[in-house]
Structure formats: structure tokens, C-alpha cells
Amino acid sequence: MSIWEYANPRKFMSWTGPFVVLFSVLAALFVGVGLIWGFFFTPDAEGFGSTVKIIYIHVPAATVAINAWAMMLVASLIWIVRRHHVSALAARAAAPVGMTMTAIALITGAIWGQPMWGTWWAWDPRLTSFLILFLFYLGYIALWQAIDNPDTAADLTSVLCLVGSVFALLSRYAVLFWNQGLHQGASLSLDKQEHVADVFWQPLVISLAGFSFLFVALLLVRTRTEIRARRLHALEARERMVNA
């Protein structure tokens, strides 16, 4: 019995059922605790004033946005190498969630940038990279929706995801080269010197866990929906064959 057997659609449906509930509860719990702790029970940061409270959504959303793309990349690779349908469908299911997270990171960043930098939008490397990431999500989702045959769509979007990842990385460094930024350094670095003070760090990590659980929960639900949609599609095709 290998790990791949869990990727059999029927098996996937049965073992993920309980996990949907589990991750939904965990997501609600952690997001709730993290945000309430962050919003009500943390002091203002020096230099930021009370705007530091935006960090509890901004940083987790940005982290999930990037990792969602990384997860799509892995899923696409698995689809190309092993041709597990669940994998392709999971990549498809993750994209809109990742795009939403990117949008949240961009919007909260803009709202945060206004009081801090005096502008809603600066062509700062990190902001710009996220905007480019958003465009990649858009293209990826548009390609999925444009192709009727699901296997063709899975193949082509996987190739796009691979090539897109390379170019997204290239863009990241090109943008760094292009403009020096206003942005903070890494907030979550393990290096104690660099990351934010503990009072902010603890609720931030909880919130981060919450956003990650939220992503997993949504991913599971959406993947299950995609599997059902595929089965529905097959049943309808068979009905048409019988009736014809």
C-alpha cells in the first residue's frame, strides 16, 4: 500500500470527509483567536502606532498566497509525472483561493501603506511582485476556464504553472533590481534580531496557522467539489449516449 492510493478519487472522497470538518473548525478557531488577540490585546508598535494590527491579516494572507502557488506547482508536477486526477483538480481548486489571498495581501498592504508611506501604492518590489503573482493567478484560472476537455486543461495549465513559476521567480529578482523598496524586512524570520517583537509575534503565528487551516479547508472542499463535478460530467455524458 503506497501513499499514492490516497489519491484515488473514491478513496480521496472517503478519507477527506472528516478532515473538512476538522480543518474548518481549526480555521475558525485559530483565525478567531489570532485576530481577536491581535486586535484587542496587543499594544501599539513604535513607529507604526495602531496600524500594526493590520499585520495579523496582511502577513498570513501573503504567506498563504505564495504557498498556494507553491502547492499548485507541486500538484502540477504530480499530475505531469504520475497523472493522478485528484492532483490536477487540487491545483485547479487552489488557484481562486490563492488569488483571493493575494488580493487580501494587496488591499491590506495598500490600506496600510497610506498612513505609513503616505501613498496607497508604491512601486515597491514586494508590492509589485504580488501584483505580478496576481496576474499569474488570473492567467492560470482563465486558461482552466477556457478549455473544455478536462484532461487537456489539466495538462496545459500544469505546463503553464511550471513555466509561470520560473518566470514569477525571475520577475521577483527583476523587480528587486528595478527598484529599492520601502517595505519591512521579513516579519517571520527565525532570526530573533530581524522578526517582530514577541507581543506581536505570538498572535501573528496563531493567525498564520488559522489562515493556513482556512486554505486547507477550502482546498479540500473545492477539490471534493471538482471531483463530484467530474463524476457528474461523466454521468451526463453517459446519459446522452444512452438516450441518443
Binding site: F40, T108, R222, T225, R228, L232
Partner: protein, 51 residues
């Protein structure tokens, strides 16, 4: 309610926008999940009768 000072609007706007977007994606996911599930159940009963 903590004292948010002069940044109150910004912070609340950020939280509100996030709530809206998260609610949006959760809502869309949920709605499509229910629709597809219902449609599949109908199709499977049909297939069961015919097949």
C-alpha cells in the same frame, strides 16, 4: 474596543475588506459545493433507475 487613534478608519477598512473577501471565497466555495453535490445526487438516482 481598543483605542485605535487616528488610524481607526484604516485598520477597520483593512479588517472589513479582508472579511468581505474571505466571506466571498467561502461563500462561493460553499454554494458551488452544494450545487454540484445536489446535481450529482440527482444524476446518480437517474442513473440508478435506468441502469
Amino acid at each position: 474596543m481598543p483605542d485605535l487613534g487616528k488610524y481607526a478608519t484604516d485598520i477597520l477598512a483593512a479588517y472589513a475588506a479582508t472579511a468581505l473577501l474571505v466571506a466571498g471565497i467561502v461563500g462561493l466555495t460553499w454554494r458551488r459545493s452544494r450545487r454540484v453535490r445536489a446535481a450529482l445526487e440527482r444524476a446518480e438516482t437517474r442513473a440508478g433507475h435506468n441502469g
